[in-house]
Point group: C2
Chain length 394, copies 2
């Protein structure tokens, strides 16, 4: 041993002041994470095995096949990135945009902003088109802008968690192909929950997360790219300026070569395999219908309680409902009340919608009738306690 001595630190000498790790048991009806399926948590807690163990390589193949089903595509390069949703978002920029290339981003909420920030860090020529937070783009608007700007990549968010808007995607793929442009879709709040056909809709690259439709904890971010995107990757003039997210390196590990890249988060991959297996067992059509039905019931229930929804029925997102906070209610106080007294989390608005809307998520394992009934019930009995005018009568 060397001469250095243990220095003082913020931990006391006897180290007994930290109790065993525990957290409260919440019902997560916010914008995500959502609760994980109990079988997923069981899988998560199995013993780690080596990332080059044959049993693990087999599990990786299962994950890839099950992901292809969830994405509804046969893309060879389909894998979970080893980070939360934003990691795959960044991978979709870092690998497919080189310095000076044009990306057209259709922005209608917080996560469009994030794409803009990322793309500019990779020195893209970023062109942004914008809509109000709560609205969606029409196909004509998108066609006009793609033809006018001729970008290399067109990026749009399918399900905007910041606004509760579902952006229709059909038809965009054709426009992109006619204009020699890659079609990039953020499916963070739609994969495994909402109708999504990567192949039929001609989506060239798409990414998502583990903690919403897939009923897993946050930690992985599925990404899928088709042949057109693979070709763009192969034809890069420069190395991908991001090592951890470099798909050409990851492809050697997830592809047939199985060359070690980074140490895989093996337990999170156990979890996602189980989440995806449960999805395959239930069947996508059943899942999509379940999400739609529960969301419809939530929306009618909220409306019956006199609340107003933020998004018009044409663009309403079944995984995340945005509801206006009545002018007479302190939105934060009510959210805290639900969390403290009922262990239920709902979300505040992001950015300019902060304090103006609540965000209620019904995703994956959490999209069930009993959660809708419970929440509506609590809104019915509790919300009046937070209304300024009525509170005077207590």
């Amino acid at each position: 041993m060397t001469e250095a001595k243990l220095i003082s630190s913020s931990i006391k000498e006897n180290h007994t002041d930290y109790s065993k790790t525990s957290v409260p048991n919440r019902l997560l009806l916010g914008p995500g994470p959502s609760n994980a399926h109990p079988e997923v948590l069981n899988a998560l807690s199995m013993n780690p095995i080596g990332h080059l163990d044959e049993a693990y390589l087999e599990l990786m193949s299962d994950v890839q096949n099950l992901l292809r089903y969830a994405w509804q595509c046969n893309n060879r390069l389909t894998l979970p990135m080893s980070g939360t949703g934003s990691a795959a978002m960044e991978a979709s920029i870092a690998n497919f945009i080189e310095e000076g290339e044009k990306i057209l981003i259709a922005k209608k909420g917080y996560f469009g902003d994030r794409l803009v920030d990322m793309a500019s860090r990779y020195k893209a020529n970023v062109i942004v088109i914008e809509k109000e937070w709560g609205d969606a783009f029409t196909l004509d608007e998108i066609q006009f802008e793609i033809e006018k700007n001729k970008p290399s990549v067109f990026a749009i968010v399918h399900a905007e968690t910041s606004t509760g808007v579902l952006q229709p995607l059909q038809g965009i793929g054709d426009i992109c192909r006619k204009n020699d442009c890659l079609f990039l879709v953020d499916a963070v709040t739609s994969l495994g929950a909402l109708e999504l056909f990567v192949e039929d809709w001609k989506i060239d690259l798409a990414y998502s997360c583990s903690q919403k439709g897939l009923s897993c904890p946050p930690g992985l971010s599925p990404l899928t790219i088709n042949d057109r995107a693979e070709e763009k990757l192969r034809n890069r003039k420069t190395k991908v300026p991001n090592w951890y997210l470099d798909l050409s390196l990851l492809n050697k590990y997830w592809g047939s070569d199985r060359v070690y890249h980074h140490t895989a988060p093996v337990n999170m991959n156990y979890a996602i395999r189980e989440g995806l297996r449960l999805i395959a067992n239930e069947g996508l059509e059943n899942i999509w219908n379940r999400h739609l039905e529960n969301s419809n019931n939530l929306c009618s229930g909220l409306t019956e309680l006199g609340l107003e929804l933020h998004v018009s029925s044409a663009y309403r997102l079944p995984t995340l409902t945005t509801v206006k906070i009545p002018g007479s209610v302190d939105g934060d106080a009510f959210r805290n009340h639900l969390l403290k007294n009922f262990q239920i989390e709902i979300g505040n608005g992001l950015g300019s919608l902060s304090g103006k809307i609540w965000r209620i998520g019904l995703m994956g394992y959490n999209s069930k009738k009993e959660n809708v009934d419970r929440l509506l019930n609590i809104f019915d009995t509790e919300l009046k306690k937070f209304t300024f005018f009525q509170s005077a009568t207590f």
Copy 2:
């Protein structure tokens, strides 16, 4: 619902061909991942909670304080990055090197190569000094090169998992400060297992992983930076060219502002809190002695069996022992035999050492006498079955 139909995919219609997720129970005595502590796996499988939930913010503070103890420092900016070890490695480059800046990398194994690859992606002016895979640098050599090259950052791996070499670090910090250079240390295979004093040794930035000394599954990578490094970060001329790993953004979430950056891998943070709590409970000095003792016993045992160690006793790494594969033995066949018949994983050599050495890890929870005894016993009875000359006598 739209008109698109469910396309055929590699999953059969009834989706019953994927069984519940399960993996074999292995004893992981390779270069990592190592087995997780059972209490860590319990913590890992708790229900997720929101990444802005007060209970989670409190858990984050615990993780940071416990990490400061493990690192032996009081650095404000001490946090786990949301990816496996290489993510924090990349963060240490992406945040602290701007285009054209000089980094001096002392390379003596595989992970030095990775640093070189990353630094060149961030367009650093990379200068490399090299040693044989199995050797370490002397303080004089390092001093000479730093004074000659005047780099902005000097980077070295503390514990080289590819070779089994422990690089002495004391004294380097002083040289770096005299030459206005940041001292960057890869502590992937030393944090929580081997003597390491970030503050006393004047290490400006260091990173590690969760799956070795911390007895957690892979998925997080602790990073700590001191005031000197923070100052360099503040004085950057350009935005960090990596969004996910941008410490100035992460600092707003992990610092007192608690501004949402990316969705945290909450369950992995449960796990690391528990792993770190167990470390604080046992006490670092006890842990360091335990690792040293078990490694010494392994080394003597292997030598008694007639095997030769790859690294001279002066630089031997207690967490990872590299042992030469006897010329008469098929190294891969023996490794597979251990895995298939004893559920024990040991590692092959990396790069030029592939097929020449085995790598045996005793890290964190796995550094215990019973594992050493079991492995030596198996080597004693099984290795002779794989020796070509002797096998003729069976």
